[in-house]
């Protein structure tokens, strides 16, 4: 594989993408919205509630307590309000992980179905780009804004959340392995999977608008995947998380193969041009 050609294609796609107001507003706006709205709408109401209102007979599930007590050193000292704030902060962090699924649905629609819609695909197919280079370039160009947006959202979310709840827990959250695993392993894999699914969709739609609509359906099974991964980690074990990551990797490889087959010239010229 010629990485020079892959980078050339990805750079072209990114240049094109960032000249679209819609894409720019999605790539910048969505992470900001997620990162600011989620803590303000879920954590802030809990923050303003008096600590005494959290006291009662009911306790948090043992599995959650076990997990979070491993992550937060002073778990037993933060009180029920502090524990609920920590638990909510971590659960809501999962929502940030929707960004690497949703954003590629937008960016990949633009770079793949956009080529089809603007009739530029044939010029690419007659170029010396191989099928693998073409798919890798398209994944890369959709993946970069998505991961940048996710990292940005995670950072803002982390800052806002810590500002809101630090006074109640006296410790800084999200410096443990869980958010890092999610941000640097799960999010990129989900992002790649999302782009690959959009490539599959590209053979079925003729316009970017159709792709957005159909792409929103792609998000649903991937959200279930996230839930599965989270459940694997929280309720089962680290080994289950590793197994979930392995499954994601296998899915990425399978869909990469399918996507590459779609860009087989004969098939592509019939379905994508």
């Amino acid at each position: 594989m010629d990485w020079g050609r892959v980078k050339t294609l990805a750079r072209k796609d990114l240049r094109e993408m960032f000249k679209s107001k819609y894409i720019v507003s999605a790539v910048i706006g969505m992470p900001i919205l997620f990162a600011i709205l989620i803590p303000l709408s879920t954590l802030y109401p809990l923050v303003v509630i008096d600590s005494s209102d959290f006291e009662g007979d009911e306790e948090l599930p043992v599995s959650i307590t076990n997990l979070l007590s491993r992550i937060v050193p002073n778990w037993d000292d933060v009180g029920t309000k502090g524990q609920i704030l920590i638990m909510t902060a971590y659960l809501m962090y999962i929502i940030v992980l929707l960004i690497p699924i949703i954003l590629p649905a937008v960016t990949a629609s633009e770079t793949i179905i956009g080529e089809k819609e603007r009739k530029t695909m044939e010029a690419l197919l007659v170029s010396p780009l191989s099928e693998t280079e073409l798919v890798t370039g398209k994944i890369l160009s959709s993946f970069i804004p998505s991961i940048a947006g996710t990292a940005f959202a995670a950072l803002i979310y982390g800052i806002i959340t810590n500002i809101l709840i630090y006074p109640y827990i006296d410790t800084i959250l999200f410096l443990d392995t869980l958010p890092i695993v999610f941000l640097f392993i799960i999010a990129p894999l989900l992002s790649i999977l999302s782009v690959e699914l959009m490539i599959l969709i590209s053979t079925r739609v003729t316009s970017v608008r159709d792709a957005y609509q159909l792409g929103s359906l792609v998000v649903l099974p991937l959200v279930m995947l996230i839930v599965g991964v989270v459940v694997a980690y929280i309720f089962i074990s680290v080994y289950a998380l590793i197994a979930a990551v392995a499954i994601l990797l296998i899915l990425c490889a399978i869909f990469f193969k399918i996507a590459t087959n779609i860009f087989d010239r004969e098939r592509a010229i019939v379905k994508l041009v």
Partner: protein, 322 residues
């Protein structure tokens, strides 16, 4: 050297045979035009030669390379103008050219000078840093042609190259095609509806219908094939009703006559032998002749007759009038 060699090249789409048993050989630095109505199989042929479609039967060599084995090398050595200009409209003209230059591995040090060269060659005004989408249709087409030639390919496929160009721009493009074929030994494979252009530009022509090659040769060779269809036009100083009778008596078929313009056009079987004796007879019969000229069949007429002979059920025959 041979640039393209097709041997029984055939393509089926399900039950439809889109291209049937093409045997065409195109020499290096030739300008070959493939003529045919819509749906005749022109684009399918080019797509097979550029590796976008696999032949069902037969094969071809492009620049000496087998299309079933060396596709990537073929693609890097040929240029291709598709039916639409296919420019990235949000990118500037320079960014468009730069993108394709990098895909085709044009050395970075050469890209700038190549852009300047192309601007001169195709008389592109200084709009290099404007978005391609802001340009006129004709300008986009010129840039797309420039892009197809940017990496200096040995063989260039052009699909309707002058379709949306003004007459002036079309002339510039035609001149450059001829210049590049002659001076730089580039080979051109042109799919066109424009018979006027094919006649003036091509060193060889192929006529395809229903995927079958129904004629090929140089425009002169095709005319030679149909020389019995040469029309002789005889113009008179004054029109007389006995003109028609004269030709009927001589058993010469009248193709057309026009009293106002005072001429008659006739089919003469053996032009070289019969023409002098006809002129003598006309003079002896006191007809005042102004002009006698032979009109050889144009490529357009040959094309239309061949296509009409074959029928055009699959696509609409929308050839341009020359």
């Amino acid at each position: 050297m041979i640039a393209i060699e097709m041997e029984g090249l055939t393509k089926d789409f399900g039950a439809l045979r889109a291209v049937n048993d093409l045997d065409i050989v195109i020499e290096e630095s030739a300008i070959f035009s493939l003529l045919g109505p819509n749906g005749a199989g022109k684009t399918t042929t080019v797509r097979m030669l550029t590796g976008l479609l696999r032949p069902t039967i037969g094969g071809a060599k492009v620049l000496g390379l087998d299309i079933s084995e060396n596709l990537q090398e073929i693609r890097s050595r040929v240029g291709h103008l598709t039916e639409t200009p296919a420019l990235y409209e949000r990118l500037t003209v320079r960014q468009n050219l730069d993108f394709f230059a990098n895909l085709y591995k044009v050395p970075k040090t050469e890209i700038k000078s190549r852009i300047e060269e192309i601007v001169d060659l195709f008389e592109l005004p200084e709009k290099l840093d404007e978005p391609a989408g802001s340009l006129s249709k004709g300008m986009k087409q010129k840039i797309a042609i420039a892009r197809a030639m940017f990496h200096k390919p040995e063989l260039i496929f052009l699909d309707e190259p002058t379709a949306s160009l003004s007459p002036e721009s079309a002339k510039v493009v035609r001149e450059q095609i001829i210049k590049l074929a002659k001076k730089e030994k580039r080979t051109f494979f042109i799919c066109t509806h424009n018979l006027f252009e094919a006649e003036r530009l091509s060193t060889r022509v192929g006529i395809i219908n229903h995927g079958i090659l129904i004629a090929q040769g140089s425009p002169a060779e095709l005319r030679e094939m149909r020389k019995d269809e040469t029309v002789t036009i005889i113009r008179f100083a004054t029109w007389e009703s006995r003109i028609k009778e004269f030709f009927e008596d001589m058993n010469i078929e009248i193709f057309e006559y026009n009293q106002d313009k005072k001429y008659v056009s006739v089919f003469i079987k053996d032009i070289e032998k019969q023409t002098p004796s006809i002129i003598n007879s006309l003079t002896k019969n006191n007809f005042q002749l102004v002009e006698v000229k032979h009109e050889f069949p144009s490529l357009e007429r040959i094309y239309l007759e061949l296509i009409e002979l074959e029928g055009v059920p699959r696509g609409e025959n929308n050839m341009e009038e020359s």
